[in-house]
Structure formats: structure tokens, C-alpha cells
């Protein structure tokens, strides 16, 4: 996807992107986070496992529903990636079984069923996120990290990332001493990003969470709105905070 309005100063190349996402895992202080991957297609499973191991995760694998449920109970993973259609036992059945046992481990559902109804069913059965096949591996990693570092329900009314401050009560934002005027949607976007600073947020995640759209619009809406927000947050003389990760999404980081 070509991004017409991404200024070169805060675009990252493909090589740098990997470093950022890898470092994101270490920043999160999750030493050897264990992920259970339940996927019956061995090639897909191989690719996903390789990528996640490379990013510093410990991976357990299961190729069938029943094996998956057993491992989910025995090896206590920090997160689960569950394919929707599995031999032996449906992915949703596994999740329902775990939720009935009061296991709260975050679950990312992978599925070839992309219809909105299917997605709703997946989330209703206890899944925390739903990713339709085929997906970009970056998208999968971003979502797993988002699940692992889900912001706790906090009563914090003031968000801070470096010089950036967001007052959730007064609905005001400022960077250092400079006040930032934000439209309601921009405020919501910045709030979401500040709660997940240092995390890669993909366009699809932003569309789902900030705009609440269940479909992907044709035009690069997210890019345009993000461009606006970045223009306001990163003034001409400020070091950039909102970074565009080419082809993947965006990261909000403290200026280095």
C-alpha cells in the first residue's frame, strides 16, 4: 500500500520495522512469554512459530483440537492462537471450554471465515481478537502483542507519554507547553495510541477499535486521519513521536 502523505523523516524501512517490533516485546518486560499455537496446517504453523520465536516468544504447538485443549490446560500459556476449524474439536469449542473453566488467557482466533457474523460469533464464544486468513504476519504479531499488553482497566484520567499529555476529563491535549487542538475522533485516536505506546498498531486494528468499523474502506482513511493527528502532535521543530511503519501501521513512542 503506497502512502502518499508519509513524510520521509518518520517513515521506517522494512529492516528497522523488525527491530521496533522485536524491541516492543522486550520493552513489555515479558521474558519468554509462552504462546500456544493451535493450528492444523503444518506449513502455516511453521511460519507463524518461526516468526514468533524470532521475536523472542516461546512457542508450544498443537495440531488438533483435543491436543490443543490438553496443552492449554497443562502448559499454562500466556496467550493462545487458535485456528477456527480444527480436526477433532472446533476452535470455538476449545475457547468455550477454557472460559467455562475460568481460564482468562487472551485468545486470538484465526479463521478463513471472514463474514462479520462469523467474527461476532468468534468473539462471543470468548475470543479476544479475530484475524481472518490470509493475514500479514506483522498483523498477527501486532495483535498478539496487543493482547499480551492489554492495558489494565485503570482509573487514570491523565495519560502521559514523554512530553505528551492527554487529560481525559478536561478533554485537552498538550505536548510540553504547547496545547494541541483535537477533533473528537483525533482525541479518541490519540487516547488509544497513548494507552498502547511502543506497540505497533495496524490500520485494521485502528479501524476496528477507534472507528468501530467492521469493514475495510477503500480509501486510506486511517492514513489521512493519522497524518492530521501527526501534524498536530509532531510540530515542525519537535522530534517525531508518531511513526509510520511502512506497510504495517503506526507506533507512538517517546522521542529519543
Amino acid at each position: 500500500m503506497a502512502l502518499g502523505n508519509s513524510a520521509p523523516r518518520n517513515s521506517l524501512t522494512l529492516g528497522q520495522r523488525c527491530d521496533i517490533v522485536a524491541s516492543a516485546a522486550s520493552i513489555g518486560k515479558l521474558p519468554m512469554t509462552k504462546i500456544l499455537l493451535i493450528e492444523d496446517d503444518s506449513e502455516t504453523a511453521e511460519e507463524i512459530a518461526d516468526e514468533l520465536v524470532q521475536r523472542g516468544f516461546e512457542i508450544e504447538r498443537a495440531a488438533s483440537g483435543i491436543e490443543g485443549l490438553d496443552k492449554a490446560r497443562s502448559c499454562r500459556p500466556d496467550a493462545l492462537i487458535v485456528d477456527r476449524m480444527l480436526p477433532g474439536m472446533d476452535g470455538l469449542t476449545i475457547i468455550e471450554a477454557l472460559r467455562q473453566e475460568r481460564v482468562r488467557t487472551p485468545v486470538l482466533i484465526l479463521s478463513a471465515l471472514g463474514a462479520i457474523d462469523e467474527r461476532v460469533r468468534g468473539l462471543r464464544s470468548g475470543g479476544d481478537d479475530y484475524l481472518t486468513k490470509p493475514f500479514a504476519i506483522v498483523e498477527l504479531v501486532a495483535r498478539i502483542e496487543a493482547l499480551l499488553r492489554r492495558p489494565a482497566e485503570s482509573r487514570e484520567t491523565m495519560l502521559r507519554v514523554g512530553p505528551l499529555e492527554l487529560d481525559l476529563i478536561a478533554r485537552t491535549a498538550k505536548r510540553g507547553d504547547r496545547a494541541i487542538e483535537l477533533l473528537p475522533r483525533e482525541f479518541r485516536l490519540l487516547e488509544y495510541m497513548m494507552q498502547r505506546s511502543d506497540q505497533l498498531l495496524t490500520r485494521a486494528m485502528l479501524l476496528e477499535e477507534v472507528w468501530n468499523y467492521k469493514f475495510v474502506p477503500a480509501t486510506n482513511l486511517v492514513d489521512v486521519h493519522m497524518g492530521r493527528l501527526r501534524h498536530k502532535v509532531d510540530g515542525p521543530n519537535d522530534p517525531p513521536m508518531i511513526h509510520n511503519v511502512r506497510g504495517s501501521g503506526f507506533i507512538l513512542r517517546e522521542p529519543s
Binding site: 500500500m1 503506497a2 502523505n5 522494512l14 529492516g15 471472514g114 463474514a115 462479520i116 457474523d117 490470509p134 500479514a136 477533533l183 475522533r185 472507528w211 468499523y213 467492521k214 469493514f215 475495510v216 474502506p217 477503500a218 480509501t219 482513511l221 489521512v224 486521519h225 497524518g227 492530521r228 511502512r246 506497510g247
Partner: protein
């Protein structure tokens, strides 16, 4: 037993049975009508005779009875004069018939006839009259004629039955063979259609026959199916073509990259281009699945009253920055507080698609106006722009999947936006009107439910 096929048909059985029952009923009716006519005539004669005899002087009455009995070659007449105590004075009746009321109408009675042939019990029509001198006059008539009549009718029936049965069988056979022949023709035709010859139609004979009505309905159904199948085949081709384009790009990219790239950066560039092409084909698949999802959704579970002004404003807010980037002015105007009963997400998606198109095709310096308008009986969402518009000859085809105006070949997109909009319109019972008269105007017309 080896019966011909038509004998087993329902038409044949019903026609034959109905015919036989009709003949029986008809014969019974003829008998009943004739019998009641004869009885009425007989009763009138008896009554008249009894009055005539009673009117005579007592001494002539006995002679009259004798006269009457002597002029009776068929031996059907009966008469008797009885004393007040019931003893017989004259006539051929053995005794006063029991239960026969005096001076009443003619009735059926059981009597015993006494004459030179001896005693004979019989059923007759009779009337009894009490005479002024205390005697009782009985005039009766044997209804043997009725029996004869019944015999005649029965004989006629017996003679006619074999003929009638033959006739009914023949009619049943003709009718059933005719029906069978048409059904057989239809069977053969349906088989030909099943084997893929969708252009075949059931012949309509132009008679007001149930078969013709059925044929008309079935032909209509076939027309619809043929259109759908043709359309589907076309869509298949278009999908193949539109997917092949980006896939070819991806393949060429990768192939050339593999052969020619000398540095990691070059290889990454190639890979990025290939991924872009793959994403494009994915976009097409996603859009197609979305359209199918909407076309197949029947439920109105997510329907609610949605304020139009708010929806239009939200789309405006969403696209304002994009329009501004393109140096296009975007206005939102909304009238009143009209609401529309719809699935908000879907209507939003439809409006968004139209605005997306408008933004895409309006050149810099142009202007887009999104408005919600209330008109008699309907609410309208109107999107006007100063873009090149849709040509007169293109207005219908833009709704087709993958149709792209030549002008838009270089703009990115799946070419499915308007198809998606029209699927959403269909689900809601709304209309999409495209007008090219002044700039480009797209209208979503939402008829209000009639109250």
C-alpha cells in the same frame, strides 16, 4: 395383470367412476320423477271416482260399484261398500282396510281382494268416504303399474350400462392419454433443461388450461434462471480477469526479482511490490465476499431508526480531511430530524462508498455536497460532485461487478463499490438514483413506510 399405463392414472380412474355414478343417478332420477307423476295421476282418478260414486243416490251406488269393477280387464280397480259396523255390502274388498281414515286424501293401504280368482292380499292406493246413510265407500287402485315402470327403467339401465361403461372408459382413457402425453413431453423437456440446455421453454398452447398457466410460470422461472446463470458466468470471467491482473503482477515481480536482484534492498523492494499486488487481489476477494454476505442476509436483526443528519455528518467528518488533501471542498447540509429504518452500519457503508467515489473522481478545485433531504413520502441522501460524472450509457453497467469506467482505470479500488451499494439498497428496499444532468448526483432514496 398387465394393464395399459393410462389405466393407472388418476385422471382415468376419476373420469370412469364419475361417469358411472352419473348414469346411475340419472336413472334413479328418471324413475323417481315418472313414479311420482303416475301416483299423482292415479290419486286424482281415485279421488274423482269416489266423489262421483258418493254423489249418487244410495240405490245407484251399488250399481256404480259393480259397473266399475266389471269394466276392468287389467284387474287394477278395487271398490267396496261397507256398513257402519264394517260388514261388506258390495264390492271386491274382503274387509274395511285397517287404519284408512275417512274423507281424507288418497293413501297407501293393505287390502285383500276377493273375486272369482280367489283371495289376494295387495298394496293399493285407496280412499274411504263416510256416506250420509252411514255406509262407508272405499275406492282403491292397485299400483302394479308402478312396478312395471320400475322394471322398464331397470331394463333400460341394464341395457345402457355396458354401453355407458364402455363410453366412460373410453373418455377416461382419451383424457388420461392426453394428459400423459403432455407430462411425458414435459419430462423430456425438463431432462433437456437439466442437461444444460437452458434456452428450452415449455410450449404454451394459448388455451386457458391449467397446464398453460403452469407453463407460463415455469417459463418465467426459467427466464430468471437463465439470466442469473449467464450473469454468474460473466462474473466468473470478470473475477478471473480482475484477480489475474494483480496476481500476474506479483508473479512477474517475484520472478524478475529472483533472477535480477543483487542486493537485499532490491529484493525487499521487489517483495514489497509483490505483496502490494497480492493485497490488491485480497481486497477484491474481501469485497466480493462482503457483497455475497449482504446479498444473502435476510434478517433485519440489526435494523433500527437512524437519524439521517447524524449519519451524513459522520461520513462528512470522515472524508473532510481526505477531500481537503485533494483540494476538494466538502459540504454537509442536513434538513430536519428525519430518521430512516435501516441497518446503520450498512447504510453508513453505502453512503461512504458513494462519497468515496465522489472524492476519488472530483478533480482538484472541485466541490462535493452531501445532503439529507426530506421529500413527500421519502427521505433522500444526496451526494453531488463536480466530477466527470457517469455517462448516460454507463449508468446501468456501473452497478455490475467489476465495472470500471475507462476514466477510472488508473484509480485504485476493487471496482465493486457500486455493486456493494446496490446490494445494500436491495436489502433495505431503497433505491439508488444516478443523475448526470448537473455534475454527478447520486441519491439514496429511502421510501417511508406508508402509515
Amino acid at each position: 395383470m398387465n394393464l395399459p399405463d393410462f389405466v393407472r392414472t388418476t385422471t382415468f380412474r376419476w373420469t370412469s367412476t364419475a361417469f358411472a355414478v352419473c348414469i346411475l343417478l340419472f336413472s334413479a332420477f328418471v324413475y323417481w320423477e315418472a313414479a311420482s307423476y303416475m301416483v299423482a295421476k292415479m290419486d286424482a282418478a281415485i279421488s274423482e271416482e269416489s266423489l262421483a260414486v258418493a254423489a249418487d243416490t244410495p240405490d245407484r251406488q251399488l250399481a256404480a260399484i259393480d259397473d266399475r269393477l266389471s269394466e276392468d280387464p287389467r284387474r287394477v280397480k278395487l271398490a267396496g261398500m261397507f256398513g257402519a259396523d264394517g260388514h261388506r255390502i258390495a264390492g271386491n274388498l274382503e274387509s274395511l282396510p285397517q287404519g284408512l281414515p275417512f274423507n281424507a286424501t288418497v293413501q297407501t293401504a293393505h287390502v285383500v281382494r276377493v273375486d272369482q280368482h280367489g283371495h289376494e292380499a295387495m298394496t293399493v292406493r285407496a280412499v274411504a268416504r263416510a256416506l250420509p246413510d252411514g255406509n262407508i265407500l272405499v275406492i282403491a287402485r292397485h299400483n302394479g303399474e308402478l312396478k312395471e315402470l320400475a322394471e322398464v327403467v331397470a331394463r333400460a339401465l341394464l341395457l345402457a350400462l355396458p354401453f355407458a361403461a364402455g363410453l366412460s372408459l373410453a373418455i377416461g382413457a382419451i383424457l388420461s392419454v392426453r394428459v400423459q402425453r403432455r407430462v411425458a413431453g414435459l419430462n423430456a423437456l425438463v431432462r433437456r433443461i437439466l442437461s444444460g440446455n437452458l434456452s428450452e421453454r415449455i410450449p404454451v398452447l394459448g388455451l386457458d388450461h391449467p397446464f398453460d398457466k403452469l407453463a407460463t410460470v415455469a417459463n418465467g422461472m426459467l427466464d430468471e434462471i437463465q439470466v442469473l446463470v449467464t450473469e454468474m458466468a460473466g462474473v466468473g470471467n470478470e473475477i478471473a480477469h480482475d484477480l489475474r491482473t494483480p496476481l500476474t503482477r506479483a508473479r512477474v515481480c517475484l520472478e524478475r526479482g529472483r533472477a535480477n536482484a543483487t542486493t537485499l534492498a532490491e529484493l525487499q523492494g521487489v517483495t514489497d511490490r509483490a505483496i502490494g499486488a497480492l493485497d490488491q487481489s485480497l481486497t477484491i476477494i474481501t469485497a466480493l465476499l462482503r457483497i455475497t454476505e449482504i446479498e444473502n442476509s435476510r434478517g433485519r436483526a440489526n435494523f433500527s431508526e437512524v437519524p439521517l443528519a447524524e449519519l451524513v455528518q459522520e461520513v462528512g467528518d470522515l472524508y473532510d480531511p481526505i477531500a481537503e488533501d485533494k483540494q476538494v471542498t466538502l459540504h454537509v447540509t442536513s434538513e430536519g430530524d428525519a430518521t430512516v429504518y435501516c441497518d446503520r452500519d450498512l447504510l453508513f457503508e453505502a453512503v461512504m462508498n458513494l462519497v468515496d467515489n465522489a472524492v476519488k473522481f472530483t478533480p482538484a478545485g472541485g466541490c462535493i455536497n452531501i445532503a439529507s433531504v426530506h421529500r413527500e413520502g421519502e427521505n433522500i441522501i444526496r451526494i453531488c460532485d463536480t466530477g466527470p460524472g457517469i455517462g448516460e450509457n454507463e449508468r446501468d453497467v456501473v452497478m455490475r461487478r467489476f465495472y470500471r469506467s475507462d476514466k477510472s482505470r488508473n484509480t485504485q479500488g476493487a471496482g465493486l463499490g457500486l455493486t456493494l451499494v446496490s446490494a445494500i439498497m436491495k436489502l433495505h428496499g431503497f433505491r439508488l438514483a444516478l443523475n448526470t444532468a448537473t455534475g454527478c448526483v447520486a441519491e439514496i432514496i429511502c421510501p417511508l413506510p406508508s402509515t
